[in-house]
C-alpha cells in the first residue's frame, strides 16, 4: 500500500513540475531541437516566459540593492540565465530551421501557419534577399525558360528545386501515457500499434508526428 501511495505522490509531483512554464519551455525546446521539421510556435508560452524573465530581472536588482547575500543573488542569476538560454535557443533553433527550408516553408500553408507573425515576416524578407541574390548571380545569366528559382525549367511539372524537410529521419521519443493504435495515423498501423509509457523508442519521425502534435509524446 505504501508503495502505491508514494507512486501516486510521485505522479502528482511530476504533474506539478511538468506544468510550470519553465518545464513547458524545456519540453518545447527539446522537441524543436530534435524534430526535423518546424513545429507549432508556442506564442502564449513565450509571452508568459518573457514577462516572468522581466519580473525576475527586477527582483534581481532589488536583491542587489538590498545587499542580500551574494550567493543567493548569484543562484537567482543562474536560474535566470538558464531560462533566458532556453528561450533564446528555442527561438534560434526555429529561425535556423526556417533559414534551412526557406522556400518550402513559404510554399506550404501548413508550415506557414506554424510560424509566429514576426517569423513569417522574417521568412518573407529572407526569401526576397536570397531570391534576389540568386537572381543576380545565376538566374539573370541563364536563358529565358530556365529563370525560375523553384522549378528547374518551365517544362518541369512541379517545384523541383525546393528541398523539403526529411520526415523519415529517425528520432528517439518517449510517450507520456500509454498509446494505442488509435493515436497513430491509420496508414502506419502496420508499423506501429502501441507504445508503452516512459519507454524510450527509436522510431521514424513521420510515425510519431501525430501524437507529437497532440502532446502525448516527447522527443528526446
Amino acid at each position: 500500500m505504501a508503495t502505491e501511495e508514494s507512486a501516486s505522490v510521485m505522479d502528482d509531483y511530476e504533474m506539478l513540475i511538468s506544468t510550470t512554464d519553465v518545464e513547458l519551455l524545456k519540453r518545447a525546446w527539446r522537441n524543436e531541437k530534435a524534430a526535423p521539421e518546424i513545429l507549432q510556435f508556442e506564442s502564449s508560452l513565450v509571452q508568459r516566459i518573457k514577462e516572468q524573465i522581466e519580473l525576475a530581472e527586477q527582483n534581481e536588482e532589488i536583491f542587489e540593492a538590498n545587499n542580500i547575500e551574494p550567493l543567493t543573488v548569484s543562484l537567482y542569476q543562474m536560474d535566470l540565465d538558464r531560462t533566458q538560454f532556453l528561450l533564446r535557443s528555442y527561438l534560434r533553433v526555429r529561425l535556423q530551421k526556417i533559414e534551412k527550408y526557406l522556400f518550402y516553408v513559404l510554399k506550404t500553408d501548413e508550415y506557414l501557419n506554424r510560424l509566429s507573425k514576426q517569423e513569417q515576416m522574417f521568412a518573407r524578407r529572407c526569401t526576397d534577399d536570397l531570391g534576389s541574390h540568386l537572381d543576380e548571380t545565376v538566374l539573370a545569366k541563364l536563358p529565358d525558360n530556365y529563370r525560375s528559382i523553384l522549378k528547374q525549367s518551365i517544362t518541369s511539372e512541379e517545384d523541383d528545386m525546393v528541398p523539403a524537410p526529411r520526415l523519415d529521419t529517425f528520432v528517439i521519443c518517449k510517450a507520456n501515457q500509454y498509446l494505442s493504435g488509435l493515436d497513430f495515423e491509420p496508414d502506419y498501423s502496420m508499423e506501429i500499434t502501441e507504445m508503452e509509457r516512459d519507454l524510450l523508442t527509436f522510431v521514424c519521425y513521420k510515425f510519431v508526428k501525430k501524437p507529437l502534435e497532440n502532446g502525448k509524446i516527447d522527443l528526446v
Partner: protein, 221 residues
C-alpha cells in the same frame, strides 16, 4: 561541355573545408554560364530544324529530338550546379551571421576577400533581417550560444583590444595577456569568434570551479 565544367564547379565547392569558404571562383562560374548559353543556342537550333521539317515538335522521337533533349538536360544540370554553388555559399554566409556577428565590417579581412560583391550585399541584407526580427521580439539572440555553466567566467585576452571597453557593469582595459573575471554575457561576444580559429582551446583550472576560455581576435581561414 555537357556539364563537365559544372561538375568542376561543384567539386571546387566540395574540396574546401566544411563551413569554410573558398574565394568566389569567378572564372569557372562564368565558363559554366557561357556553356549554358551555348547549349541553349544548340537547343533552339535543333528545335527550329524540327519545325522547318514541319515535324510535330512535341511528339516525334527522331535524332533531333534526342539531341535537343541532351542539350536541355545538360542545361538543367548546369543550372543545378550553379544554384548549388551559390546556395551553399549563401548558407555558409548565413552561419557567419550567427557565429561571427551581424555587422559587415566585423567580418575579418580574409573572409571579406572571398565574397563576391553580391554575397556581401546578401550578408548585409540577411543580418538586417535578423536584427529586425530580434528587435521585434525584443530579445537578443546572439548571446548564450552555449548553455551557461557559471555566471562569471575567467578569461584571458589573447589580442589587444584596447582600453575602455564598455561592459555591462564596469569598463575594463582589455590589454594583451590580462586576466579578467567577467560576466558571461559580456565575454561571449568576444569568445564567439573563438569558433573560427583552429587554435582556440579551453583550459580548466585545477582548482576547478570556473572555466578559462581564451579570447582571440585572430582568425585563420
Amino acid at each position: 561541355m555537357y556539364a563537365r565544367k559544372g561538375y568542376e564547379l561543384v567539386k571546387d565547392l566540395a574540396n574546401g573545408e566544411k563551413g569554410q569558404l573558398q574565394p568566389f571562383n569567378e572564372d569557372l562560374f562564368n565558363q559554366v554560364v557561357d556553356q549554358c548559353t551555348q547549349h541553349y543556342l544548340e537547343l533552339q537550333a535543333l528545335i527550329r530544324k524540327m519545325q522547318e521539317e514541319s515535324v510535330d515538335v512535341r511528339e516525334t522521337r527522331n535524332s533531333d529530338h534526342y539531341g535537343a533533349l541532351i542539350h536541355h538536360l545538360s542545361l538543367i544540370r548546369n543550372k543545378r550546379c550553379l544554384m548549388a554553388y551559390v546556395h551553399s555559399r549563401a548558407e555558409v554566409i548565413q552561419n557567419f551571421a550567427w557565429k561571427v556577428g551581424l555587422e559587415l565590417l566585423e567580418l575579418p579581412e580574409e573572409i571579406q576577400e572571398k565574397l563576391s560583391p553580391s554575397e556581401k550585399n546578401y550578408f548585409g541584407k540577411h543580418s538586417s533581417a535578423l536584427q529586425s526580427y530580434m528587435a521585434e521580439v525584443g530579445i537578443d539572440l546572439n548571446v548564450d550560444m552555449v548553455p551557461p555553466k557559471d555566471p562569471y567566467i575567467k578569461v584571458r585576452v589573447l589580442d589587444d583590444m584596447g582600453e575602455g571597453i564598455l561592459l555591462s557593469d564596469k569598463t575594463a582595459n582589455l590589454a594583451l595577456h590580462s586576466m579578467h573575471f567577467l560576466k558571461r554575457t559580456d565575454a561571449e561576444q568576444y569568445i564567439a569568434r573563438v569558433g573560427l580559429d583552429g587554435r582556440a582551446y579551453r583550459m580548466t583550472l585545477k582548482q576547478g570551479v570556473s572555466q578559462t576560455i581564451s579570447m582571440t581576435m585572430e582568425f585563420q581561414m
